[in-house]
C-alpha cells in the first residue's frame, strides 16, 4: 500500500510558537527559540495589535516550512484562525493548541478532539459536558 504522505525522518526539527507574550517568553527561556541567518524566527508573539493577516501568514509559513515539526498555538489565537486550523490536515507539522494564562484549556474547541467527538461517550472530555 503506497503511503502517499511521506513522513520524513529528521534529525533535528524546530518547535514553532504562535502565542501571547508570556507563553512565548517562557518557551524562549527554555531554549526553543531559533533565529536563523535571514532573521527568520520560529515564533510569533500575538498581542492586541497583531492583525489577523499576520497570524494567518505566520501559520501558513510555519506549516509549510520543512524544518518545523510542531506548532504550538494558543487556543484563543487558534479560535481567531479557526478555519485555517480546521482545514489543516497534514500530519506533519503537528498543530497543538495550548492554553494561555487568561484562557484556560477548552477541549470543546480543540480541532482534533472535535473531529472525533462522536467516538466519545457523554461524560468524556471533548463533549464538554463535564
Amino acid at each position: 500500500m503506497a503511503n502517499r504522505v511521506q513522513i520524513p525522518t529528521r534529525n533535528s526539527a524546530l518547535i514553532a510558537m504562535i502565542a501571547d507574550e508570556d507563553t512565548v517568553t517562557g518557551f524562549l527561556l527554555a531554549g526553543v527559540g531559533n533565529v536563523d541567518l535571514r532573521r527568520k524566527t520560529n515564533y510569533l508573539i500575538v498581542d492586541s495589535k497583531t492583525t489577523m493577516k499576520q497570524i494567518e501568514d505566520a501559520f501558513r509559513e510555519f506549516t509549510t516550512r520543512e524544518d518545523i515539526a510542531v506548532v504550538l498555538i494558543s487556543q484563543y489565537v487558534a479560535n481567531m484562525i479557526r478555519f485555517l486550523v480546521d482545514g489543516y490536515n497534514k500530519p506533519i507539522p503537528a498543530i497543538l493548541e495550548i492554553p494561555s494564562k487568561d484562557h484556560p484549556y477548552d477541549p470543546t474547541h480543540d480541532s482534533v478532539l472535535s473531529r472525533v467527538k462522536y467516538l466519545f461517550s457523554a461524560e468524556s472530555v471533548a463533549s464538554g459536558r463535564r
Binding site: 500500500m1 518547535i15 517562557g26 518557551f27 527554555a30 510542531v70 506533519i92 495550548i98 492554553p99 484549556y105
Partner: protein, 261 residues
Amino acid sequence: MSGQSQRLNVVPTVTMLGVMKARLVGATRGHALLKKKSDALTVQFRQILKKIVSAKESMGQIMKTSSFSLTEAKYVAGDNIKHVVLENVQSASLKVRSRQENVAGVKLPKFEYFTEGETKNDLTGLARGGQQVQACRAAYVKAIEVLVELASLQTSFLTLDEAIKTTNRRVNALESVVKPRLENTISYIKGELDELEREDFFRLKKIQGFKKREIERQQAAAKKYAEEKFAEKISLERGISVNSAHNMLSATMQKDEDIIF
C-alpha cells in the same frame, strides 16, 4: 443504482470460469485480511485517543504551573526579563527528532525531543532572581516534554485516522462491488456453458433422429423393392398381371397354406 452488480465482459469458456473462480477466492481472502487490519487499526486508534485525552488534561495542568512560575520569575527578576530573553534568542537548543514506527502495518511518526548545544544563560537573571529564572526554565522544559509527547500522539492519531478510512473504503469496495461482479460473471459463464451443452445435446438428438428415420426409410424402400421383384417374378411365371400378383403376395403375407409355390 443501475450497474451496481454488473458482470465483466468475458468470453464464456471453461478457462475463463477457472480464472474468475480464482479471482473470487483472492477477493474473498483479501476482504477478510483487510477487515482484520481495519479492526487492529481501530483498536490502536482508540488506545491513542484515550492517551491523547489524558495527555491534554495534564498539559493544561502543566501549562498552568509553568506560567505561574514565570509570573514568579517576572515578579522577582523584574519585568524586563522578557526583553532580555528575546534578545538572547539565537539557535534553538531544544529540538525534536522524528522517527517512523510501524504499527499494524501503518507507518506512524513519533517525535522525541532532545537538547542540542548549550542554552544561553548569560544575562538572564544576573541582577536578581536567578533562582526563580532557573526554576521557571525547568518548568517550561518539562512542559515541552509533555507537549512533544502530545504532538507525537496527535500525528499518529491523524495518520491512523487516514489509514483506517482508506482500509475501510477498500473493504467496502471489495464487498459491494468486486465480489458481486465476479459472482455475476461466474454465474453468467456457467449459464452460457449450460446453454451450449444443451444446444449440443439437442443437436445430437436431432441428428440421431435423422439417422434413425433415414435408416427406417431405407429399410422400407428395400422391402418395397424386394416385394416388387418378387411380384414381377410371379407374374412372369404364371402369366398374370402384376397387380393380381401383388394381391396374391399380400394375401400370402397372411400365411395361406393352400397356395403352394
